[in-house]
Symmetry: C2
Subunit: 358 residues, 2 copies
């Protein structure tokens, strides 16, 4: 499948596969920094991946995502499953690193070597945060994690992209968080597989649940009327809320709403159950399989985009700076300059694959 | 400069240049949809661009950006300047279009044909929202707008990218908006050229101003200590606030803080003055010129990235779907599949430039 794996990469893969946490940690760092080793490593690890359940969590800051991740990890550990956690942190504008960091996270699991935690700063991924996340998931997956949780902060476009890395995405909301504003943000409806209404012991929780129900119902209708869900019947509100024990939907997945209080552990088992149900839908229905196929296509196209840019940047070298000078002097318009750069890239001979930084 | 401009494009350019609003509107739509005409049009319009002042506005929802844009437009009109406005709206998850739209915006200027307003939905730009914004600015610029205002909703990564299209970016804040959370978001400090503290008649405004001052001071120190600002002296708080009438900084630009009440028009003249000062810095100092050069480089690199992807997608056609099937069947890993696709793209003959959709 791969041409030839360098010896030190094979040894590294062996260490990762045998549960060596330092080797795993080094691998994640290599993937984050996109060293040329990481390229070979990812190729070699691919054969061992594809087994882990990947669950993404997103939602407004303050909805309690971190404690929810903590509780979920605890729930999976109760079931004797190993857990990998990737926390996407906003980048500090001052240090350039992650703001929260591993140290104040997940104190509870600090001594449990079956829970592997890594904070990843949002910056420095050359626009490819979701590729970085996906590659890290692949490493944790090949290392034998049963479950990988990916937590993002906020609901920006980048964070929503990251959730596409997951099999199942939980959108976490809480009463009184101004979620009505956040929820309307582009993409949030499409990425939600399960809604977790956290802090469900707080006032206003019924209103939050009703808002989500309405949003789901409106979304279904809009999609039906625009012909996006052929053969799909819109569920009534009651069906939506009560569907946890109903038969698997054969068409589009309608996200269930689960109330929880992560600080007390309430509703966490139900949340895991809802993600399990979603897994069954993904694996057991044609619509679910179609979605997995679509996601794989997105991954490959995204990887292709990034690799193209990397290759072109390497091949063109100073030509790009030359073009900038030409446009600045108004000797050429930027559109023509771009066409010329692309033609130059395609005209140059291919470098041997895997050479240089990947 | 350009090889040959098709006759209908030349005619279109003439109409736009002579103030035909329908021709302008059609041009913006063509640019938004990236038709092949828009490609030729942008090339032809480039020669007439480079004159407009481009001012970006960003900040948390609820800080009153729309009314501020409205007041700023009024201020520029008082000075007999023509104004183009591009409002980046979140995309409605249901209709796929912009949520706010032109119709409820800027009622005040609805009958003034020297104010051209266009709402742009955040979706459907193939990741290239800032390129779309930049191209629209170029059209408005070539059409003779003296000032182009770009308003973004929210402070996500995409919105921050859009602000890089502007010469001067105003970050709009307001008391009690939870800006402390939003402000920490990666990138906001770097993109701010002027802070507008709106709703300055509300309680808590002094605290908001103090927070921003502290952020600026910390940012300067962090950059000095990390060696990012050779030769730059950190201004004291007093200098920061009082600098509006001081001499132009020869090194790094330190964003002034301007209080305003957009609904009453208070502080709007000061805001325009602050952006004028920033323009003088950009045009009159080495640091300012370096920044303009850097931005142009970013534009070209961004355009190159997008054009590469477009060309590759066109050239590869069904090969990408084939690769997806191969990875799905686990016959090949996604990294090797990507390398093969890039090699295939480079090996294929170049199409004639400007053919097909650009």
């Amino acid at each position: 499948m791969t041409s030839s794996i360098p010896a030190h990469i094979s040894a590294w893969v062996e260490q990762i596969r045998s549960g060596n946490l330092r080797a795993l940690s080094r691998a994640i760092t290599a993937v984050e920094n996109r060293t040329s080793d990481s390229h070979h490593l990812l190729k070699a690890l691919f054969a061992y991946s594809g087994r882990a359940r990947v669950v993404g969590l997103t939602g407004s800051p303050g909805a309690g995502k971190s404690t929810l991740v903590d509780s979920l990890a605890g729930q999976y550990r109760k079931r004797q499953q190993t857990v990998g956690i990737i926390a996407i942190d906003p980048t500090s504008p001052f240090t350039g690193g992650a703001i929260l960091g591993d140290r104040i996270r997940m104190q509870r699991h600090a001594l449990d070597d079956k829970v592997f935690i890594r904070s990843v700063a949002t910056r420095g991924h050359m626009g490819g945060l979701s590729r970085s996340a996906r590659d890290m998931v692949r490493v944790l997956d090949a290392a034998g994690s049963d479950v990988v949780l990916i937590e993002t902060v906020g609901v920006g476009q980048d964070e929503l992209e990251v959730t596409r890395t997951a099999h199942t995405t939980l959108v976490v909301m809480a009463p009184g968080m101004g979620d009505e504003v956040q929820a309307i943000k582009a993409g949030i409806m499409e990425c939600a597989d399960v809604f977790a209404v956290n802090k469900a012991d707080k006032e206003g929780v019924d209103g939050t649940v009703r808002d989500i129900e309405l949003m789901i119902a409106l979304g279904s209708e809009a999609m039906v009327s625009s012909g996006k869900t052929r053969g799909h019947t819109v569920h009534s509100k009651t069906a939506l809320v009560g569907q946890a024990d109903a038969a698997l939907p054969q068409g589009r997945w309608v996200p269930p709403i689960v109330r929880c209080v992560s600080t007390r552990g309430d509703g966490i088992a139900e949340l895991v159950k809802a993600t399990e149900r979603h897994r069954q839908w993904l694996e057991g229905t044609d619509a679910g399989k179609a979605r997995r196929h679509q996601r794989l296509g997105e991954e490959l196209r995204e990887g292709l985009r990034e690799a193209l840019i990397r290759e072109a940047t390497r091949a063109l070298g100073d030509d790009v700076d030359e073009a900038v000078r030409g446009v600045e002097a108004r000797e050429v318009d930027p559109y023509t300059a771009t066409e010329r750069l692309i033609a130059a890239f395609r005209a140059r001979p291919n470098p041997p694959p895997g050479s240089g930084k990947s």
